[in-house]
Subunit: 383 residues, 2 copies
């Protein structure tokens, strides 16, 4: 049906009506007192959502822009960067570091796996001359649905003395993520994920320790420059003309998150992801991330049953039920499909999508007890 | 009145209702075939508006992002850049070049003045060893309302052999600007100006000659990288998650521009700007840019009469008539105010704003024949 599409991809995610209506208003001047009042609220509520006492910068960019905003303000040519890669987005950190002339070493695991803290500890212990300046890592890996134990990993990085630079694009809002408490030095995220607004804005917060490294950066990014953004945050302003309409929408969305409470938002995502995983298992579907402990609360990657292809499943879900799920990326293309449970998602959406998936698999000849998925998800959601 | 604000600033500018409604729709997946179809139309129509056979790249960023996208893909440390500065935004080119380690020389003029081609010719003739690699310049300088003779200046730069890198943020759409015909090597612009959509997107097109310099760039920008964007344009895609909703709006706005015809859009802006200038002179107002030949068709800067302050004028226009005009920037703050005639502006808007300005100046005690401004603008618009 026209206008009935429901996105269950890991971004863009569904947007509340009141946010869309705010975005649809005529733009206001970005140097007006009205807009400054909006920025004041936005900057305060971003600190609440990011659970930090430090400023949170807002960039008009994709999430990748915020990744550049992290590394381009820290790296000098020849710096040593250790990249912990559990998927495409972990690899993107490495590419950005290389683009600035860093010497990049990777610890890489198979898709669906996460970084073992013991492996990281061993590598950092070997670095007796403290040559590693920055460790990049991913909280929730959007390409696989695996999630690192950021708390444990960042503690090890802190002990070593390097900076931890964390991609929280699909984790902030969806999973507990506490930069100050856990010692994360740089944390970034993007708007079209847990923040419930369309793509176009990205966020970054940095620790005092990260600021000291920034001060040694010879050619910090002009567009993403931390000092310029800090000055603007403190003046309830922005350095350049920002995406005014998206920010007006963000203001509404952040208030919704605050009203629900960030812990409750985290808990809702956990409940949804775990219920979905259990329901998928109940209909004999294989998950790429086998262990619940390593699973993202934002994305679940599913391996199709033998004899049924990913394109068939995606096409039927779209054509029969107007539900869009994501394909795998790069080497995982057509090997998995990904369901997002990220942002503006309620229990009804979970029941509907599990039911629709059952219908599709039933039609395509998958062997399972019809109804067991919906039965399981209802049981789990009722807990 | 609430919801009656009319922006006469040089960006953000008024946005057509059909564009706002498009932006308000639920986001669609950025890797879907629906979005790919939108991108196909957008990329084709951007080439039409930019009047170039080369690809036009689209960035999710402020206009300043596109300025970075120009220089960060061209400059190596130590490169010599000549910046022609006629205001703040000309100076921004110099700052970005410096941030990448370039050696920057400036030719600077007083606010409201433009670059004399003879002065540029003299400097380029002196550069017998061809040390100058890039010349940055501004077409329509948003901070003053002056406009360079880009055609003449870029011809001189081409003759010398350096690359011309042009800020067309407030000129593309508003003024004739023909990169292929005039030999502009890199031209950038932003969405919240002549493109009639809210801020958040920016554009860049580059000549074959510029691509050769890009290929020698040791550390091209990751986020703004030309090669990644070229590959994406050719696949009707984007390298990273773009501002999907703004692009859907842009698609509608570009069709409106195409329907009107780019030459007609240019002519409308010229007619409006020239009519406004004549009307302002008719009510004894002093213009910062004295000569019509040097005036932007997008912004007009006005010096307030003695004894009447810029804040008084701006406040009265806002309070009494819900019209927002811009203050001057930096050293021009409170010395001028700026009226935008950029983007989605019709004859009625011109009559209304000149009438409102007359009312405000009348109240504030300025000496002029009440009605002469509106009389003049009607005469000019009727021609």
């Amino acid at each position: 049906m026209n206008d009935k599409t429901f996105l269950m991809i890991p971004g863009p995610t569904p947007v509340p009506e009141r946010v869309l209506l705010e975005i649809a208003k005529h733009p206001i001047g970005h140097r007006s007192s009205e807009f400054s009042s909006i920025l004041e609220e936005v900057y305060a509520n971003l600190k609440y959502v990011f659970q930090t006492k430090n400023d949170v910068f807002m960039y008009t960019s994709s999430g990748t822009g915020a990744m550049c905003a992290a590394l381009e303000n820290l790296i000098n040519e020849g710096d040593k960067v250790l990249s912990l890669v559990i998927g495409n987005f972990g690899n993107r950190w490495a590419k950005i570091a290389e683009s600035r002339g860093a010497v990049v070493e990777k610890i890489e695991v198979q898709p669906g796996e996460v970084i073992d803290p013991a492996v990281l500890k061993k590598r950092l212990d070997e670095d007796i001359n403290k040559e590693i300046k920055i460790v990049t890592l991913t909280h929730s890996e959007t390409s696989t649905g695996a999630a690192n134990d950021i708390k444990a990993l960042c503690a090890l990085i802190k002990e070593h003395g390097a900076l931890s630079v964390v991609d929280g694009v699909t984790s902030v809002c969806a999973m507990p993520c506490k930069p100050d408490e856990w010692g994360i030095d740089v944390l970034i995220s993007g708007s079209q994920k847990g923040f419930m607004i369309p793509p176009g804005l990205a966020f970054l917060t940095a620790s005092e320790k990260a600021w000291k490294v920034y001060e040694q950066c010879k050619h910090p990014s002009f567009y993403f420059d931390w000092a310029a953004h800090k000055k603007s945050v403190q003046a309830n302003s922005t350095p350049f003309t920002p995406a005014v309409n998206l920010i007006a929408g963000l203001n509404v969305a952040l208030k919704m998150i605050k009203e629900e409470g960030i812990e409750n938002v985290n808990a809702r995502h956990k409940k949804h992801a775990m219920a979905l995983r259990k329901a998928l298992k109940a209909i004999n579907m294989k998950l790429l991330v086998e262990n619940d402990e390593n699973a993202s609360y934002a994305i679940t990657s599913i391996v199709p049953p033998e004899g049924i292809s990913v394109p068939e499943i995606r096409k039927a879900l779209k054509n029969d039920f107007d539900i869009v799920v994501a394909n795998g990326q790069n080497q995982l293309k057509d090997k998995i499909f990904r369901m997002g449970t990220l942002g503006f998602v309620c229990d009804r959406d979970l029941i509907a999508s599990v039911g629709a998936l059952e219908a599709v698999l039933y039609k395509l000849g998958h062997k399972f007890n019809l109804g067991d998925g919906v039965k399981t998800i209802i049981e789990e959601l009722s807990k």
